[in-house]
Structure formats: C-alpha cells, structure tokens
C-alpha cells in the first residue's frame, strides 16, 4: 500500500537475513580448512572446491543420495497411489464405517514416531528387512498416508458431483470415472500431496537411523548425522554434504512453490 518499493525491498532483505544460516553454510562449504577454525573474517580469502571433492569422491554421500532418492520416490508413489484410491473411496463411496476410519486416520497423524519405532524395529528385524529400501519405503509411505488421504480426499470432494454423474450417464462405471474424470482433475492436488510426501521421506531421520546398520544402506540424513571425522570434525566437508542434502528441498521450494504452498495450506485449513 504505502512506502511501496522501499518497504518491499526491506522485507525481502529481512527475509534474506532470516535465511542467512543456510547461506552461511553454503559459504562454509567453499571456505578452505585453514580459514574455518578459528573464524577470522566473514568472507573467505579464497574459495575452494575441495570439500565437495571429498564428499563426492571419498564419502558415503553419493550412495546415501541414491538411497534417499530411491526411497523417497517410491514411497511417494506408493503413498499418493494408495492415498488417491483411498481418498476417493472415503469421500465418494458408501463405505460402512467411513466415519470411524477417517477419525482413526486423523488420529494416526498424531502418532509419535518414537512410539512406533520399537515395534517396527522388531518387525523389520524379524522380516529380515533391515538395511533394505523396502523397510524405509513402507515405513515412510505408511507415515505419510493419513495426510495424503486427508489432502486428496479434500481435493476430490471439491470436484462437483455433476461431472461424475455426467460420466455415469455416458455409461462409465466407477473405475472408469475415477480414472478419466477424477484423477486428471485432482492431479494438481496430487502433485501437492506428492511434494509433501517426498519432502517428508527425504528428511526422515528416526526410522532411517534405526532400521539401517551398514554404511551402504544409509539415507542422506543418517549419513550426514554420522559424518565421519578421524580426529577433528570436518566442518567444511559437512557443510558441503549439507548443501548436497538440501538440493531436492531447495529445488522444490524454488521450482514448485505453488504446489507446495497449496498442499501446506490445504493440510492445515481443511476442516
């Protein structure tokens, strides 16, 4: 309204300052070791790529990135796939016990991971699924499912029944309607749900830490938390690894902001 451009610029500057920790970490990742401890000046005297070299060539991060990517993509596909079907069923079909099921799902979003980690640990151990992608995919998808169903159910409910009825009068059965009418319309919502599920899986730490033992099966958060240092902590290398670990989240925030925001708001605002 008033003070226009200057005010806008100040707000942007303030927000850039808010995100400063991240930028500082990025700077640390290109600062040479000699200038890290103790810190003598804000700007480094010279830039170096050695930390990234170490992380990419000698550390577990590349393998961890692959693990995280695989687990996140598959668990997202699973959660959104199953969630879309379940959301449609709960919202549009006369499933008996619909109310209690919905209630149970909402309650499930509040389950603390620390409570379910011990039985899940025993389960994975018994099934021999430790150190596998499958264990993490199932755990992540299951954890994301209630929210995804909640979101997609809401989006599906917004689709006018008239469209479905029109398809029905055209002779389409439920499944065809689902496939041809509902899914395309809910695709943007599904994208939002998928982004949230992906972010959750990418960032997930507790299950990944508890279900994996070997170095080769670690995901990114675990590899970062257990980043090795023989004598001293390699802060520059850790910063570089952190930046790599942040690539997908940053990409999503910058490139798919609209869907992300929509998903976040829908998740919170839906009554």
């Amino acid at each position: 309204m008033r003070g226009g451009r200057l005010r806008d610029a100040l707000v942007l500057a303030a927000l850039a300052l808010y995100a400063a920790p991240f930028f500082w970490q990025a700077l640390t990742s290109v600062r040479p070791d000699a200038e890290l401890l103790p810190l003598a000046s804000l700007l480094p005297g010279r830039l170096t790529a050695v930390h990234y070299e170490v992380v990419l060539a000698k550390s577990l991060m590349p393998r961890a990135l692959l693990n995280s990517l695989g687990v996140a993509l598959i668990s997202t596909a699973l959660a959104v796939g199953l969630g879309a079907l379940a959301g449609y069923a709960l919202v549009r079909l006369p499933v008996p016990g619909r109310g209690p099921i919905l209630l149970a799902m909402i309650a499930a979003t509040a389950f603390p991971q620390i409570a379910t980690v011990s039985p899940l640990y025993l389960l994975m151990r018994t099934l021999g699924l430790r150190d596998t992608w499958l264990a993490l995919i199932l755990a992540n998808a299951s954890f994301a499912l209630p929210l995804v169903i909640w979101l997609l159910g809401g989006f599906i409910r917004e689709i006018p029944r008239a469209l479905e009825e029109a398809a029905a009068t055209d002779g389409a059965d439920r499944i065809a309607t689902l496939y041809w009418v509902i899914l395309p319309l809910v695709a943007p919502g599904a994208a939002s749900a998928a982004l949230l599920a992906f972010l959750f899986s990418w960032n997930e730490f507790l299950f990944a830490y508890s279900f994996t033992a070997t170095e080769a099966s670690r995901t990114v958060p675990v590899a970062l938390a257990l980043f090795p240092g023989v004598f001293e902590v390699p802060w520059g290398d850790i910063a570089a690894a952190s930046l790599l670990a942040s690539l997908p989240p940053v990409l999503i925030v910058v490139g798919f902001q609209r869907y992300l925001v929509r998903g976040l708001l829908a998740g919170a605002l839906r009554e």
Partner: protein, 301 residues
C-alpha cells in the same frame, strides 16, 4: 443422498453393493499399509512396554506395570518431561509471535512475493539434520558465526547446560516459524481491504484495526497452526538428537531422546517402549485438548 424412487430401488441397491465393494477394494491397500505399519505397532508398543525385553540377551518376560512404576520415581524421566515441556512451550510461543509478525509484514508485499515465500520456506523445507548441523556450526565456540558476531567471545552455546536449551529452542524456532507464518499470511490475504478502509473511516487504525479486524480473523488459523506445532514439538527428535545428543548432562534431553537412548543404547526395548507410550499418551491428550478448544472457539464464533 438420492431420494428413493420405487422403480429403481432394486437397481440402486445393487449399484450400492457394487459401490460398497469397490469402496472396500480401493480402501484396502491403504488400510493394510496403515494397519500394519502404524496402527498395529501403536498397539504392539503398549504390549512391549509391559515386558522386560532385551533382544540381545534373549530376555523376554512379563513385567506388568514395573516400567511405569519406575518412571514415576525416575529423576531422569522427570527431567526429560520438564525439558520437553519447556522446549514445547518456548518454541511454540516464539513461533506464534514471530510467525504472526512475519505474516503481517508480508501482507502488504507487492513485489517479489514468490522470492519472499521461497526465502521463508527454505528454513522449513530443509531436513532437520541439515538444520542441526548448520546450527552446530553457527554455535561453535571458535569457528561459529554467532560468537564471531559477538566480537569473538568464546561462548560455549551447546556445552553450557544453562545455554544449551535456549540455543536448541532458537534453532527449532528458526526451522518451524515459516509454517506458522505461511498459514497466517494465507489467512491475512483473504481479509478484504474494504474492512480496513471502513475501519479507517471510523477512526480506528493501526493497533485498533489489528485488534478489531485482524486478530479475530487470524486467531482461528493461528490456533490450528499452534495445534500442529505443539504436537510436532512434543514429538521432536531429530534436531535435539543431532544438535546436542540430549546433553550436556541431560539439559536438552527430551522424552523422545530418553526413549531412544533406552531403546537403542541400553537396548531395553521394554523400558524404551514404556517411555514411548508416555509420549504417545501425552500427544493424544494435548491433541484432544486443543481440538476441544478449537471446537469451542468455532461454536462461539
């Protein structure tokens, strides 16, 4: 709900049955996954908490309420409960104030909205382990930016038991405020400008406008945000585990970290499950209390 028509009644009930069957079919995979990996473990953990279970040594026998009885007199448990409560209250309070302030500042933004939201959401989207490592470096006594900006004083943020919890809270607030800010911001955008213009005509501006127009409209969404954030703070694990490990000397050891150490460090699956169940019950109680509050607010409105 279609009105009954006598001639289609039999066909409708057949369609109903097919629909119901389809409904179950579509629901089944999701229910199976949820049932197996979320609901079943939630019940199983209660069963585990009533046992002495140390898998490494093959110990598995009934304990009854022994673990819970011990927790009532366990000073480490009460310390963890206190830390959890302090952490939650401080975090959520700071986030709400800061988040609302950010939303208010963003409301009038005309240019660079996308950049603004991107900068804001960056903190929220980063993995908590990344945030923890980031702040561990920022708080470093000799290499950290914080001490550098304070003129080179070697304050031991994460090693001093008096400073560790506030430092942790700050890191968590940084990470989660954007969520609250975004929710409030979205709500603020839906408030029509005419309301404020009308208020100005009536002679109310600034703080009064906030109190009379903004606050009543943003309060419900703030409550919802608080609900999510409180539950998240009670369950938080990653950031304190990686940033301080619960130290120094348990000054940042929340119930979740205590449960984790009991489970995977001392390998007491039964005892660790009992602490997990306590967190579970706590979270459910708080959720129930919040929902009642929200419902009452809505009824009053």
């Amino acid at each position: 709900m279609a009105s009954p028509r006598c001639d289609t009644s039999s066909r409708r009930s057949a369609a109903d049955v097919t629909d119901r069957r389809l409904g179950w079919l579509l629901l089944a995979p999701a229910l199976l996954l949820l049932g197996g990996l979320t609901v079943y473990p939630a019940i199983w953990v209660i069963w585990l908490s009533l046992q002495y279970r140390v898998p490494v040594f093959g110990i598995a026998r009934w304990a009854g309420a022994a673990h819970y009885a011990f927790l009532t007199v366990d000073s480490r448990f009460w310390n963890a409960a206190g830390v959890t409560a302090l952490f939650t209250v401080a975090s959520v309070a700071l986030e709400s104030i800061l988040g609302l302030a950010m939303a208010l500042a963003l409301r009038g933004q005309q240019r660079g909205r996308r950049v603004a939201v991107a900068l804001l959401l960056l903190a929220w989207a980063l993995p908590s382990v990344v945030t923890a490592k980031m702040f561990e470096w920022l708080y470093h006594p000799s290499g950290g930016l914080v001490n550098f900006l304070l003129g080179g004083r070697a304050v031991n943020w994460l090693g001093d038991p008096a400073l560790a919890l506030p430092s942790l809270v700050l890191a968590d607030v940084w990470r989660t405020t954007p969520f609250v800010a975004l929710l409030c911001y979205a709500r603020l955008l839906t408030i029509p400008a005419e309301l404020y213009e009308a208020a100005e005509v009536d002679g109310a501006a600034g703080v009064q406008a906030f109190a009379r127009i903004t606050w009543p409209l943003v309060r419900p969404i703030l409550l919802v945000a608080l609900l999510f954030r409180t539950l998240d703070a009670l369950r938080a694990f990653d950031i304190m585990f990686v940033l301080t490990g619960g130290g120094p000397a348990g000054s940042t050891e929340t119930l979740t970290v205590y449960a984790y150490r009991a489970l995977f460090q001392t390998l007491q699956i039964g005892f660790g499950s009992a602490i997990g169940v306590v967190v579970f019950v706590l979270v459910m109680l708080v959720a129930w209390a919040y929902l009642r509050l929200i419902n009452r607010q809505e009824a009053a409105a």
